[in-house]
Each structure stands twice: as C-alpha cells, then as structure tokens.
C-alpha cells in the first residue's frame, strides 16, 4: 500500500523516541555516563515492566482502530479505559478479596471491566449511530462522564476518590519448563494481561486484514454505500466496531488497574492520558494493530525507563518532564506527518434508506 507514508511516519516515530531519550539525557544531571546507565537499566525485568505499561495504551489503540475503521471516530478511549480500570477494582472489592487474592477473582474482575466498558461503548454507539450525534463531541462527553463518574462512584463506595489499599492483582503465569531456564527464564514469567496483549495484536491484525469481517469494517469506513449495496447492514458493522473498542478498552483499563491493585481517581485518574496516547499511537501506526502496538510500546518503554532511572539516586530526573515526552512526540508527528490517511467516511452518518 502507500509505503512511503508508512515509512516516513515510522521514521518519525523512531526519531521522536530517540529525541525523547536525548531530552532525557539533557534532563539528567549533565548527561554524563548517561548512555551507560541506560544500557544498565535495560534488562529482562525492564522489558517486563515496559510491556505492562504498554497494556492500556495498546489495547486502547487497537480498540480505536476497530471503531474508526468502521466509520465511527471514538475519541472516548480515555474514558473507556477509566471505566475499565474502575470497574475491575470495584468487582475485586465486591468479590471480597481485599487481603488475599483468590485466583479466579482477577479474571472475574476483568470480565466485569469488559462488561462495564462495553456497556458505555454501546451507549456511545447508540448515540452516534441511532441519534446521529457529532462523534467528536459525543466522544468528548464519554471521556468527561467517565472522568467524573469513576471518582463519584469511588466516593460512594469507598468514601474517597481512590480505592483503599490493594485489592489484589493478577499473578504472573510461568510457562512451564522455559521459565526455569537460567538468565532468560524471567521472560517466560508474564502477567496475564501482557500475554493477552501479545495474543491480541496478531489476532487483531488477522481480523482486520484476512477475514470477511475485516473487509466489512474497511468498507463501512471507506465506502458504506457499496457495503450496503452488497447486502451488509452498515449499522451492525459499526456497532461491532464500536463495541469492540469497548471490549479492548475494558481489557486495557483492567489490565492496568490489576497490575497496581488499586483504582486512583484523583487528578486525571490513574489512566492519566494513556487513552489519548493510545489514540495517537494508532495514528502513528497508520491504523495497523502492529504499528499501533510498536508505537504504544515506544511510549510505554519511555515511561518505564523514566521510572527505572529515578530509582538510580544519582540522577535527579523530573518525572513530570519525562511524562510529557509522548505528548510532545505526538505533536511533532502530527505536525510533520499531519495528513493521516483516515477512513473516508469516518465521522459521517449513514442512512440506508436514502
């Protein structure tokens, strides 16, 4: 397909990442021995935490792809992640596993999160498809409602904007045999949400590029008229796309919260803009789940790196300044790539009876 655009975009993404590292180098006390320190930080455990950081961003990004491919721009991803994170912790709490996590509970919490997030996505879909709402404003509303509702319910349940203490997390899965290997064995001890992500990326790619459903999605966003003529209900395809974005964000939000074992509803909530980064990750990845995953991983790795570097006491790094690197990178990419090739009919309503 339009290879030059992709190459340029990815080149810029990598450039932005390197720029981020460079900025980090400047922020760090004079930048001396910096490269050496970074090399020291990059290890198997760093990779693991970077992947855990990728979970919410990449799931949001892939969800966004499904919605937008179908023709519905879902900028409410951040809100859906917040719903996912909150409802997973609320489910854990309801299951009563405050001190000792009981094994099936995190999985039930994950289901609870998927249910809640998909429900909100359904609401968004109805508003956009049946009532022809402006998708941008409705998506904004989803974000703002979640930003208020999650802390609201948190206060109702726990009397404060954040859940009290640790309600339990996913325990990591060891792959038998491989995890016993010396040195690299750690790679094969993964958290379930990371495993889900690593499965979801190729599956999503396959769904979009190699199945009839993927073709329908593509047509629904590019040329709904001909899809309609072919006898496929455009509305149903769009519902499927938006609902999938709810499912993905449910997993992403829960994956993040069940990593920490707590919901934090203060400030921008614990999601802290990761949904927005996810949105830009799929723009950078040009609507390709693999590209979106790589972009998400780049931002997540940067975030994890900053936290690792902060633990090296010799360096006085401002976490907030490093935290803005993804946003700056996105701005740079948007400015210099600018014209993202989005589905032609994205954002437009479709009436089959005309």
């Amino acid at each position: 397909m339009n290879a030059p655009t992709v190459t340029r975009r990815q080149g810029l993404a990598i450039g932005a990442g390197l720029l981020g590292v460079l900025v980090l180098g400047l922020v760090v006390d004079g930048g001396r021995q910096f490269v050496g320190e970074i090399a020291g930080v990059i290890s198997v455990s760093y990779l693991g935490s970077a992947l855990r950081f990728t979970v919410p961003i990449a799931f949001a990004a892939m969800g966004g792809i499904f919605a937008e491919k179908s023709g519905v721009i879902n900028i409410g991803l951040e809100g859906l992640l917040i719903v996912g994170a909150f409802s997973s912790i609320a489910t854990m709490y309801a299951l009563g596993s405050e001190s000792v996590p009981i094994e099936p509970n995190p999985w039930l919490a994950l289901l609870g999160a998927i249910f809640a997030s998909t429900l909100i996505a359904l609401l968004f879909a109805i508003v956009c498809i049946e009532f022809k709402a402006d998708q941008i404003i409705a998506g904004l509303a989803v974000w703002l409602i979640a930003l208020g509702a999650a802390p609201f319910l948190s206060v109702v349940i726990w009397n404060r904007r954040s859940s009290p203490g640790n309600v339990g997390t996913f325990s990591s899965i060891s792959i038998p045999g491989l995890s016993a290997l010396p040195g690299v064995g750690q790679i094969f001890e993964v958290s379930p949400q990371v495993l889900l992500l690593l499965v979801a990326v190729p599956v999503s790619w396959y769904l979009l590029n190699r199945t009839t459903f993927g073709m329908w999605l593509e047509a629904s966003g590019e040329d709904p008229k001909s899809l309609d003529t072919a006898g496929v209900d455009v509305r149903k395809v769009r519902y499927a796309g938006v609902l999938l974005s709810g499912v993905y964000c449910g997993i992403g939000g829960a994956g993040w919260a069940l990593n920490v074992g707590q919901f934090t509803g203060t400030g921008d909530t614990m999601i802290d803009g990761r949904g927005w980064i996810g949105l830009t990750a799929y723009l950078i990845g040009n609507y390709n789940p693999i590209g979106a995953f790589l972009a998400s991983f780049l931002f997540a790795a940067l975030d994890a790196l900053q936290i690792e570097l902060q633990q090296i006491a010799a360096y006085d790094i401002s976490s907030t300044l490093v935290g803005i690197i993804p946003y700056v990178a996105v701005l740079v990419v948007l400015t210099f790539v600018g014209r993202t090739r989005m589905p032609s009919a994205a954002g437009e309503h479709y009436d089959s009876d005309e």
């Binding site: 941008i136 904004l140 907030t320």
Partner: protein, 407 residues
C-alpha cells in the same frame, strides 16, 4: 447517503471537514431550536443525574436512609432534596452567592474562550492548558512586579492589569500553537489541544517544583502573591470580586459585538464555517484560524490570571478543570457569547451548590463533573430531540408509524 455536508473527497482532511459539517449544522439550526435543544439537554442531564444519584444511594452507606425498596435495600440519596440543596447552597446566603458569582466569573472566561474558537469552527479543548500556563505567568509576574510598586490602590492599578495582560499573552501564545499546527500542517486541533493540555500541566508543574516555586514548601506551589496584586473582595466570606465579573461581562458583550458588527468578526466566523467561500471572498482563512485560536487562548490565559488574582492568590498544582467546564458552558450556550452568561451562571450554581450537597447530604460533589459530561452528550445529539419532538407531534413531518394518531 452519508449525511451532513460531506463534500466528496474527504481524503486527507476528514476531521477538518467534520468540524465544518458540525458548524454547518449548528448554524443552520434556528436560534429557537438551539435554545430548545440546550434546555432539553439540560433537563435530560439533570434527570439522568438524578437517576444516577438515586441508584448509587443504594450502594452508599448512611445512618439515616430516606427510602427502603424491597429487594434493593436502603437508599441514601434523595435526588429532589439534592437539587433543592444545590439551589439553597448556591444562593442561600450572601457568602454562598459570592461563591456562586466567583465560579460564574471564572466560567465566563473559560466558556468565552471555548466559544470564540467554536464560532470559527474550531474545537478548543485546550483552554485548560492555556489557563494553567496563563495562571503561572500571572503569578510570577505579580510576584516580581509587586516588589516595585507601593502597597496602595495605585500599586494595584499597575500590578493587576500587568499580571492579567501577561497571563493573557502566555495563554494566547499557547493557543496560537495548535492554531498554527491546524492552519499550516492540518493537524487536528482536538488532538493537539488535548496533548498541549498535558504538556502545559507537566511544564508548569516542573517549573514550579524545580525552579520558580516555593522551594521551602512541600506542596508544588509558588509563593503567595502580595496583597497589592489581589482583586478586592466584594462580599464577606468570599473572594468574589465584582470588578472581575464586570470585566467578564464586558468582554462577553464585546465579543458579541465583534462578531455581529465588525468585518473582522465576520471574517473570523466565515473562515471556520465556509473556508472555501472565505478564501474566494479574499479572506486569509489560515490566518484567521490562527487568530481565532490565539484569541481563544488569550481568554483562557485571562481565566488563569483571574483565578490567581481572585481565588487562589498563588499558583498551585491541581488547578480545577475550569477549562473543561468551559466546553460545557459554551456548548450549552450554543457558542453564543451572550448565551455564555446564563450558562456560566448555571454551572456556577451547580459547582457551588454541589459543595453543600457533599457536606449536608453526603452526595459526592464529583457529580457535577458527570452532569457536565451528560449535558455535552445530550447536546451532541440534536437528532434525539428532533425524534422526540416528532414522536410527540411537534415535528413538521407526519408521524407515519402510528397512523396519525396523537397522544
């Protein structure tokens, strides 16, 4: 067919055209219809909010529940009592009134900021960031200038305007960035302004924490601004200043006149709504996009300046989401500068009243943020109200499904 003014090739400017389509629709809607939709959205948001509060009352724990429903248990929150308490909490005493007007004043500035962009066909989600940086610039300016002026009225007359101008300037620069990116790189302003909010918050936090803040303090904040830089309070028990409110109202009227009476205002509006037509008429649409976003940013910056000089008396991390409230205010007002006045008053009432609700009824005041989102959601779907209107026989088209039978 795909609806709402899609003009064929949306190849690379899809989002831009989308903005245009929205504006077309908003402008096409008659004034009366817009007022009806705003009021309808408000009513629906309040009803849905009431349901949410009622239901969550069964989850909450309290000593004296107001209702018992078999199967559900005890409900803690009475929605009617809640809305009454909001009104009472917002207007029940002079102090309450002062707090309500204080919030209203701030919301006027952020609402106008969003409205100015919206009028030009631009979604400025970045008022929050413009406000945060404007507030910081004002705080630093009045801290510096405050040392050189006498502690008298004369000093105030120098230091406060200077602080507001600098706040507005910095907000304007921050608003100009997404304007330039939109005009010359076609980067969609919804994304860029949201990103710039995060950048603004991060940069301001870092500056204050590491460089210019009150380093002796544990909180991330600047030194308190001197008394000479504080707007005089007009009502006992509240920091509300009538001067700020009058200024805000004057600006609202000024912007309304700018748009209705001047060529510049006309150009600004048409550039956003009918870019091609504007270009044909010899208007530099790109420059006007930048101008509108800058003007919007200036107002966001002034909102920050007023926040510092009237409310917080310093810059402190965790500035309330007045910029996001401004989006709701502007959308509720149909992006009309005069309409922003009652919309800001409504949100000011909700914000102040919700504090009373939290204290006396135990209902979390985060509810206001939910209402803010709900109002935006309902206004986003005028079609919902048209269908509703049609269903109850208000529409011009005959109702086909029920054979003309009306309720």
């Amino acid at each position: 067919m795909s609806g709402d003014g899609s003009k064929g090739s949306s190849e690379d400017g899809g989002w831009r055209e989308r903005g245009g389509a929205t504006l077309d629709r908003l402008v096409d809607a008659s004034a009366a219809e817009r007022v009806a939709i705003s009021l309808g959205s408000l009513v629906f948001a309040l009803v849905v909010g009431a349901v949410l509060v009622f239901v969550s009352g069964f989850v909450a724990e309290c000593s004296s529940p107001f209702i018992y429903l078999p199967g559900l248990g005890y409900g803690c929150y009475n929605p009617l009592e809640m809305y009454w308490t909001i009104l009472d909490g917002a207007f029940g005493s002079f102090t309450d009134l002062g707090q309500t007007l204080l919030q209203t004043t701030l919301l006027l500035f952020t609402g106008l900021s969003v409205a100015v962009a919206f009028r030009a066909g631009l979604f400025n989600i970045g008022t929050q960031g413009q406000m945060v940086l404007g507030a910081l610039a004002t705080a630093m300016t009045v801290l510096t200038v405050g040392e050189f002026v006498p502690d008298t009225l004369l000093g105030s007359l120098v230091v406060i305007p200077v602080g507001i101008v600098v706040g507005g300037f910095v907000g304007g620069v921050w608003g100009m960035i997404p304007g330039l990116m939109k005009a010359y790189a076609n980067a969609h302003e919804v994304i860029t302004t949201i990103m710039l909010n995060f950048v603004a918050a991060g940069v301001a936090y870092w500056l204050v924490q590491v460089h210019i803040g009150d380093l002796a303090s544990d909180s991330v904040q600047t030194e308190p601004i001197p008394g000479v830089a504080r707007l005089p309070a007009s009502i006992d028990g509240s920091r509300f200043s009538l001067i700020a409110l009058v200024g805000a109202l004057a600006i609202a009227i000024g912007i309304a006149l700018l748009y209705s009476r001047t060529v510049i205002g006309y150009d600004l509006r048409t550039s956003g709504i009918q870019e091609a037509a504007a270009e044909y008429g010899g208007v530099d649409a790109r420059r006007n996009v930048v101008t509108s976003m800058t003007l919007s940013g200036v107002l966001g910056g002034i909102a920050g300046a007023i926040y510092v000089t009237m409310v917080q008396y310093r810059w402190q991390a965790g500035i309330p989401p007045l910029g996001f409230d401004g989006i709701a205010v502007s959308i509720l007002a149909g992006n009309n500068p005069i309409g922003v006045i009652p919309a800001a008053l409504l949100f000011g009432t909700l914000k102040t009243g919700s504090v009373a609700v939290d204290i006396s009824l135990g209902i979390p005041n985060e509810l206001v943020e939910v209402l803010r989102g709900l109002i935006i959601l309902f206004i986003a779907m005028p079609e919902f109200f048209r269908l509703l209107g049609k269903h109850y026989g208000f529409g011009s088209e005959p109702v086909a499904t029920d054979g003309g039978e009306r309720r």
